[in-house]
Subunit: 409 residues, 2 copies
C-alpha cells in the first residue's frame, strides 16, 4: 500500500484542479493507495509540512464536479526552484524526511516548464540515494509551450476564452462608422500559441483578426504601421491580436523623426504592456482612434468558459499519472500524443522529464505567413479540437459556484 | 397602417439587439404595422438615408434568437447630438423629408442618456410642426444611470459578467503565499452602479472585494493606502473593485514626500486608466506585489455570459415601446417600475423623455458605507434579481454564433 501526495505549481489555469481530481479519483479507487495527501503551495508545502489529507476535504462526487469547475489551484501554488543538490542538499533532505514521516512514496507535481525542473531534480535525488519514491509530472500551462506533448492541459480552455472574447470584441469594435484600431494583447511571453489560436475565427468566417503577431517572429514598428494601413484599405475597424511577449524594434520609428518618448516616467517602455505601448504609438503616428485590450488573468482563470475537451483530458492525464506511478515509473511526465484530427483522438504516454523540464516549444514557423503578421490556415486543424465542448457551469443565485478548501491544517 | 423605423445609438451592450428583436416581433405581429425599417448608425442612417428593410435580413424565429445572443448593435451606432432647432434646422428638415419619403410615422431610438436627447429634440420638432410622428425612447446602458427607470437593459448582463469575472480573479489572486493587491477597474465614468454590483459576491460568502470605490464619493490616495493596510491585517491577497470614473485626490500623497511623477511622458495621469495609475502608486509606496486588471469592453459585450432576466426584459421593453407608439404616445421612454424584490416583479410604464434625457442617476449615497470604501448589504436585494438566469449560447465548432447583417443597402 502506498501513500501519495499531490501538489500544484506555477501559474493558474482552469484545468489544474481537474488534473488533481483525476489523480484523486484514480487513487481513491485503487486498492494499492492508502492515503492521499495534498501539499499546500507546491513543493513549499512539503518543505514546511503544510500537508492536508485530501479525503477530509473532497468528500463526494459533487465536490469533484465543483472542483473541476473551479479555476486556479485549490492547493495554492509556488514559484520555488530547488537549488542544485551539489550546492545545497538541505531542502532535499527535508523533503525526504517529510516523505518518510507521512510514508509518501508517490509524488505528483502538476505544473509547467519550471515545475518539471522540480520533478527532474527530485527524481534524480531519490534515485541517487536509492529510495523508491516515484515522482511524476503532470503538465499544465495556458502557454502550450511544453515540448514532447502534443498540447498542454489548460491551453484549450484559454484558447476558447480568447477566441470567444475576440468574437465579442470584434462586434464591439465595428459599431461606429470611423477608422479605428483595436489591439488585443494575449498572454505568452516566449511562445505565441495562445495568440495564434485566434486563427480559429478565420475558420468560422471572420476576416478579423486582420493581423496576428507572435514572439516567434521579428516585429518592426514601422512595418506594423504599414500593415495597418494595408488592412485599412478594406476594413474600417482593424483588429489585431498580439502576444504580450513580442519584442518591439522601434529603431526605424525613432529615426523617422517621431520624438515622443514612449516610455513612462520610470523609463519603463512596457510597464503597461505591449498593447498600451502600441496604442500610444498608433495614436501618435497614425492619428486614428485606437484602443488596446489586455485580456489579462481572465484568459487563464475563466472557468465559466472552459473547453470540455480540455477539462476531461486534464482529468484523464491525472488518472494516467497514477497508473504510471503504480507501474513503478518515476522521473516521467504524462503527455498527449495526437493520433488523428478527425475524429480527434489522443493517446497518453509517459516521457522522460529531462526532455521537458526547462525547455520551451515555440509556435511552428511554418504556420506563420511570410510577412510575419498572420497565421496560416494549416494551424486550424491543430487548434480546433482543443476548444470543443462546454462544461455546464454550476450556478447559484446567478453566479458560478467554486470549491472552497478550508486551509486550516 | 404605419411604417416604423428603429435605430440604435451610444455605447454597445449585450441587450440592445434584444430590444430591437422586441420591437421587430411586436411590429411584425401587429396588423397596424406595414414596413419595419432599420436605420444604420443611429440617427445618422436617417440623415444619410442608410435605411434597410429589416424583414429582408431578419427572416426567421432562429434569426431572432441568434440576434438576441449577439452583442453590440447590429445596426451600428453613432455619437451624434442634434443641434438646437433654433440654431440649425437643416437636420430636422432632412429627417422629416426622409420620414416622408419612407412614410415612417413611428421612430424607436434605443440608447442611453445622450440618445434620449435626440428623442426629446425630435419629438419637440415634430410637435412644433404638428406632424404625427411618434418618437419613443428605449433605454439601454451598462452604466444603469438613467433616472426614473428602476434599472436599464444591458446593466444586468454587465453586472453578471463583472461579478463572475471577479469570482474567478479572486481565485487567481489567492494562489501564492505572499502579500498582494489586485485592482479591478470597472466601467462607469460618473455613476458607480456596475462597480457597486460586486457587493453580490459578499452575499455569496466571499469577503472580497475587500474595498469598493465609486465615483460618488471622494477618493484620497493616502486614505486608500491606509484602507489597504487595514485589510492586509487579515487578508494576504487584497482585492479592490474601483470605478474608472473615480477622481483621485493625491495632494496628501505628493506632500508626504513621494516624488515619483505618476504621469506618463505625455503628462497624462490617467492615460492607462485609474487602475494602472493606482498600481504604480501602490508599488511605489507600499512596495508589494500589485496587479491591475481593466475589464475593458468585455463587460459590455460578453454575450456568452448574459443575464437571462436582462435579455428577456430588454426584449419586452422593445415590445412595450411598440404598444406605446401605436397607442398614440410620443416623446416617451418606456421604463421599468419594480413592484417587488421577492418574487422579483416589474411593470412597464412610459415616462416623459424630458425627465430622462441628459440626466444621470448616481448610485445612492445611503448604500455606501461611512468610510466610502465599500457598499452596504442593503444594495444586494436591488442588484440580485438583475443577474439571474443564463441564456443558452448557440455554439458552433466551440465558438458562439452571432447574427450577421449584410450591410449593403
Amino acid at each position: 500500500m502506498y501513500n501519495i501526495a499531490i501538489a500544484q505549481s506555477g501559474g493558474p489555469t482552469v484545468a489544474i484542479n481537474s488534473s488533481l481530481v483525476g489523480v484523486f479519483k484514480k487513487a481513491l479507487n485503487s486498492t494499492q493507495v492508502l492515503k492521499i495527501y495534498g501539499s499546500l503551495n507546491g513543493i513549499d508545502g512539503i518543505l514546511n509540512e503544510k500537508i492536508i489529507e485530501l479525503t477530509k476535504f473532497i468528500r463526494t462526487e459533487d465536490d469533484c464536479e465543483i472542483l473541476k469547475r473551479t479555476p486556479s489551484t485549490i492547493l495554492g501554488s509556488c514559484r520555488v526552484k530547488l537549488p542544485d543538490y551539489a550546492i545545497d542538499k538541505a531542502p532535499y533532505e527535508k523533503i525526504a524526511e517529510v516523505f518518510d514521516k507521512y510514508e509518501i512514496s508517490c509524488f505528483f507535481y502538476i505544473g509547467g516548464n519550471d515545475s518539471m525542473d522540480t520533478v527532474l531534480k527530485l527524481d534524480n535525488y531519490f534515485k541517487s540515494i536509492e529510495k523508491d519514491i516515484r515522482v511524476i509530472g503532470i503538465p499544465k500551462t495556458i502557454d502550450n509551450d511544453l515540448p514532447v506533448t502534443d498540447h498542454t492541459p489548460g491551453f484549450g480552455s484559454a484558447a476558447k476564452y480568447v477566441c470567444t472574447s475576440l468574437c465579442e470584441i470584434i462586434k464591439d469594435s465595428e459599431v461606429y462608422e470611423l477608422d479605428s484600431v483595436t489591439i488585443v494583447e494575449i498572454m505568452g511571453r516566449h511562445a505565441g500559441w495562445l495568440t495564434a489560436s485566434t486563427c480559429l475565427l478565420h475558420d468560422m468566417g471572420e476576416v478579423a483578426p486582420h493581423l496576428i503577431y507572435l514572439p516567434e517572429t521579428k516585429f518592426s514598428l514601422n512595418q506594423f504601421f504599414e500593415d495597418i494601413k494595408e488592412v485599412q484599405k478594406e476594413h474600417k475597424a482593424v483588429i489585431i491580436a498580439i502576444s504580450e511577449g513580442v519584442e518591439i524594434d522601434d529603431s526605424g520609428y525613432q529615426e523617422s523623426g517621431c520624438t515622443s518618448q514612449l516610455t513612462d516616467a520610470f523609463g519603463h517602455r512596457y510597464l503597461s504592456g505591449v498593447g498600451k505601448y502600441l496604442e500610444r504609438a498608433i495614436s501618435d503616428k497614425l492619428k486614428i482612434k485606437v484602443r488596446s485590450i489586455e485580456l489579462n488573468v481572465l484568459q487563464r482563470c475563466s472557468s465559466h468558459l472552459a473547453s470540455l475537451t480540455d477539462i476531461e483530458e486534464a482529468e484523464q492525464i491525472g488518472s494516467e499519472a497514477v497508473t504510471c506511478a503504480l507501474n513503478g515509473e518515476s522521473g516521467k511526465v504524462v503527455i498527449f500524443k495526437r493520433v488523428s484530427n478527425s475524429p480527434y483522438t489522443i493517446e497518453f504516454e509517459s516521457a522522460d522529464v529531462s526532455d521537458i523540464a526547462n525547455k520551451e516549444k515555440p509556435f511552428p514557423l511554418e504556420w506563420i505567413n511570410k510577412s510575419g503578421n498572420n497565421v496560416k490556415s494549416d494551424a486550424v486543424e491543430y487548434f480546433k479540437p482543443l476548444i470543443q465542448g462546454e462544461l455546464d457551469v454550476v450556478i447559484k443565485d446567478g453566479l458560478p459556484q467554486h470549491f472552497k478548501l478550508i486551509k486550516e491544517v
